[in-house]
Amino acid sequence: MSYFRAENLSLHFGGLKAVDAVSFAVEKGEILSIIGPNGAGKSSIFNLISRIYRPTSGRIFFEDQDITEEPPYDIARLGIARTFQNIELFENATVLSNLLVGRHRHSTTQLWQELLFLPSVRANEKVHRRRVEQVIEFLDLEPYRDKLISGLPYGVRKVIELARALCSEPKLILLDEPSSGLNVEETDDMSFWIRDLKNELGVTVLMVEHDMSLVNRVSDRVIALNYGRVLTMGSPAEVQHHPDVVAAYLGA
């Protein structure tokens, strides 16, 4: 059985079929990229997995568990974290507290304990902070630790989103266009980090990306979508030279 599986996933808005009977599987420990022209339904698939949308039909499985009906907040609890295309950070909070929110799925303390800040809460906080500090070190975020998000440049925010997702210690991470808006250097850094995710932390990565050089560098496998349907699946080189994919991008 595959690690993560989507079966016949569909999302229809009225007559528009944003996602149309898409099936794919992600193996444990691989980096799978989803490519496709604008409006192909890539982000919609992510939004279906993180339950921002309800699928019209189809099922989603993670670690052999059907998660199609799970509430959105439980998706994170199961170990699936994500980043967003247009950055959804907590603007008026510091980088540190943004990352600490990423630890939310590991918090076990009750409200009354927190009101009194009992030793158990204190102990938990220390664990959270130690983990967050490791992520900060991993992604070189030390200079921004106590800064407010609202004052940080775009490239840094992108990394902080990745960091926040990592703080939840996910098993599967969904990256929605990790390189959009980044310059060449930042994209290079991002590609190293994504490989490190897999090699050092053992996280499985599902990624939507436009930058083909990044896709080629990091992906183990690639899925090409167009008009909500899967065109082809395979190694980066195979997919890139597939006639349907070329046609979809160049317009046949």
Partner: protein, 291 residues
């Protein structure tokens, strides 16, 4: 049955007034995404202006009416320039608070200038009644309904048939884009405030024979017009009027058929019930944030 029709008509008349105030809310909200809590107070001020022109200076009713509308349109522009424009684009909460402050200010200034007595304006239709069979309809209430219909038609024509109206709709959709397309957004916003103050004045003057003018009348009616605007889905012009009429009818029916005390809360209970089922009101658009 007769009672019912009688209540229905007075409910509709009252509702039209709510609708007119709600219309002001909606106009401003559509154009600038500002919720103007002082709208009721603009209405109150309009009533006082009309009283000054008609009752104190002895002008003809229609001349005084027009004068009050013009004066309030100007006042609306000034209020926008001084209070709202500097904070356009800031969080909605700040802007709401600023208009609440404006409302406070207007109420107490009006109290200082015109005193705290109930004032009355003599109108051409203060006295007469229309008899249809055994139904008795007061002219002042009918005048409110007629005026609402006329105003709505005018506004609809203005928004859909004129260039300025189109510009207003454009800037309500996306202020920045409208600005880049060469629409003078600041002037548009200013005119929207003038229109909404003018509409409020019409409501105030029409209401004068029914509820009298008092410095707190704006707050009281504004608090009823709010549910009206929300019921109709903030941002929908026909919605505001329909919401207003609904609130008015509910209020007058509850006052007549239910025990004392229900009259004042029934509109709010209905509002909460509607919001529970349809969080964006009856005619509101449900827009999802894109991620």
């Amino acid at each position: 049955m007769l009672d019912f029709v009688q209540q229905l008509v007075s409910g509709v008349a009252l509702g039209c007034v709510y609708g007119l105030i709600a219309l002001g809310f909606v106009l401003v909200y559509k154009a600038t995404e500002v919720v103007n809590f002082a709208q009721g107070d603009l209405m109150m001020l309009g009533g006082f202006f009309a009283f000054t022109f008609i009752g104190m200076m002895g002008l003809n009713y229609w001349v005084g009416f027009a004068g009050a509308v013009a004066a309030m349109a100007l006042f609306g522009m000034v209020a926008e320039r001084v209070v709202v424009r500097p904070i356009l684009g800031y969080p909605q909460f700040s802007i709401i608070m600023a208009t609440i402050g404006l409302g406070y200010f207007l109420r107490s200034i009006a109290g200082m200038i015109w005193g705290t007595d109930d004032l009355k304006i003599e109108t051409p239709f203060s006295q007469g009644v229309l008899r249809v069979g055994s139904l008795v309809l007061a002219h002042d209430k009918l005048s409110v309904i007629a005026a609402t219909v006329i105003l709505c038609t005018l506004l609809w024509l203005f928004f859909n048939k004129t260039t300025l109206g189109t510009a207003m709709r454009a800037s309500s959709e996306n202020m920045l884009a409208a600005y880049y397309m060469g629409i003078p957004v600041k002037r548009v916003v200013s005119i929207v405030w003038a229109i909404s103050a003018a509409v409020a004045t019409c409501a105030g003057v029409l209401l004068a024979p029914i509820t009298f003018i008092h410095s707190n009348v704006g707050l009281a009616l504004g608090l009823k017009a709010f549910p009206a605007a929300v019921l109709g889905g903030f941002g929908s012009i026909p919605g505001a009027v329909v919401g207003g009429v609904l609130i008015g009818v509910i209020e007058s029916m509850a006052g007549f058929y239910l025990a004392e005390g229900w009259k004042d809360v029934a509109p709010y209970i209905v509002l909460l019930a509607v919001l529970l089922l349809k969080p964006e009101g009856l005619f509101g658009l449900h827009v999802r944030k894109k991620v």
